[in-house]
Subunit: 244 residues, 2 copies
């Protein structure tokens, strides 16, 4: 049985300021929680789950503190409209300094706002073997429950660094910096890369002019129909599938 | 001032059964509503908007019935957490019979469930000039407000047909039918196509085995990292960017 204080505490982790003061975040659902348990077991603080999930897990993961709760309790602590059996409280991965980008492709996110897009981009990066994402300070919080959900577990594998993007890109001027813009070079005509930075812009404003100036290769995904734009995460996936 | 009956009526269009009995749907937000007004003006039944949006529009679109409402009224009729100035009631596009797929690429959606994915896929199709999407009968309703939102207006240009996908694909056996599966041929190595069907599978179960059997070309997006899968809409975007 969960105490009222505990329920309130878990609910509070839905808010950024509490996540940051506690340095904790929550993940939900069988698939994501099991992936995080296997990837970052030492960062799992506590798992709350209904009986059905608890029984088999207790044997496999004897070290993970699991508390069995009722469906009603799960509904109270869950951030989802349809809670999915299990919720975990997890320590935030320490924000690392950006390691050298030598022989690496890095995504630079300029004000990605939508949590679903942010999470999907982290999942795409993981799919294409990108280990580091650099975000402007106004990008969505990667520990927002909706972001964590959309990463489908990839949050455990991709390092996310928040920084002054402009300053950071200025230091990168001797590497290839790609920016997707209308009228850029068809991305499918560009040779594969093993090193470089790819800037992804805000959902409605695109890449800010000051960052655009710092890019040295303008690329585009040619449109064949009448849609005005592509979703930011979809564009990221398409660009990476051609460049990597 | 909106009557209670009117408010209830508009709210009811958030539910599929009312949308279907009325043959109407709602669209919200400046960008989408303005795009729909310009694309399908004859299907716009009524527009509700706050003063700021109404003033300039009344001159441009004299024929569209616009009702000015307050922000509070907008909040009551809106399906969004952050209503964006305008909401329109629109007649559903008549569900057409599938025209010949001669010289056309058609998407076949096998049980896409998430409204955001469905809407994003419609937007991607529009971007790549795909005019028709065939959906299994258990796919998300394209007139769900979240789908309409995610299409960013492309719902007005892409024809969506619901049908028994298995029967339909059986009739298509003399065309190329692509299916993305693990271990398929790298999509970037396949020649561009001007005709064919591309099957996109359900978010968690993938393409159902009975449909998979009907496909004659298995393709894949090679993974370089450790993520287990890609989001269905992102995969659609990547596949189309290589095949079209």
């Amino acid at each position: 049985m969960l105490s009222k204080t505990k329920v309130k505490y878990i609910q509070s982790l839905g808010q950024k300021k509490f996540r940051q003061s506690e340095m904790l975040f929550i993940a939900e659902g069988i698939k994501i929680v099991e992936e995080l348990i296997s990837e970052i077991p030492d960062l799992i603080v506590e798992v709350f789950a209904i009986q059905e999930w608890v029984e088999p897990q207790k044997k496999i993961n004897a070290k993970i503190p699991i508390t069995e709760i009722t469906q009603q309790e799960l509904e109270r602590i869950s951030q989802l409209t349809t809670p999915n059996k299990v919720l975990a409280i997890i320590k935030m991965l320490p924000e690392v300094k950006l390691s050298s980008i030598k022989n690496k492709v890095v995504l630079a996110l300029d004000g990605i706002q939508d949590p679903g897009n942010m999470g999907t981009i982290i999942r795409i990066a993981d799919w294409f073997g990108i280990e580091q994402i650099v975000c402007s300070t106004d990008s969505a919080d990667p520990y927002n429950p909706k972001v964590v959900q959309a990463t489908m577990g990839s949050i455990a594998r991709v390092k996310i660094i928040h920084t002054d993007l402009k300053k950071w890109l200025e230091d990168m001027s001797d590497t290839q910096i790609f920016a997707a813009v209308l009228g850029g070079k068809d991305v499918s005509s560009i040779n594969k890369i093993s090193e470089g930075v790819i800037i992804i812009g805000n959902e409605s404003k695109g890449i800010s002019p000051e960052l655009l100036k710092l890019s040295n290769i303008k690329i585009a995904i040619p449109a064949k129909g009448k849609a005005e734009s592509l979703n930011a995460a979809v564009a990221t996936g398409i660009i990476l599938s051609h460049l990597i």
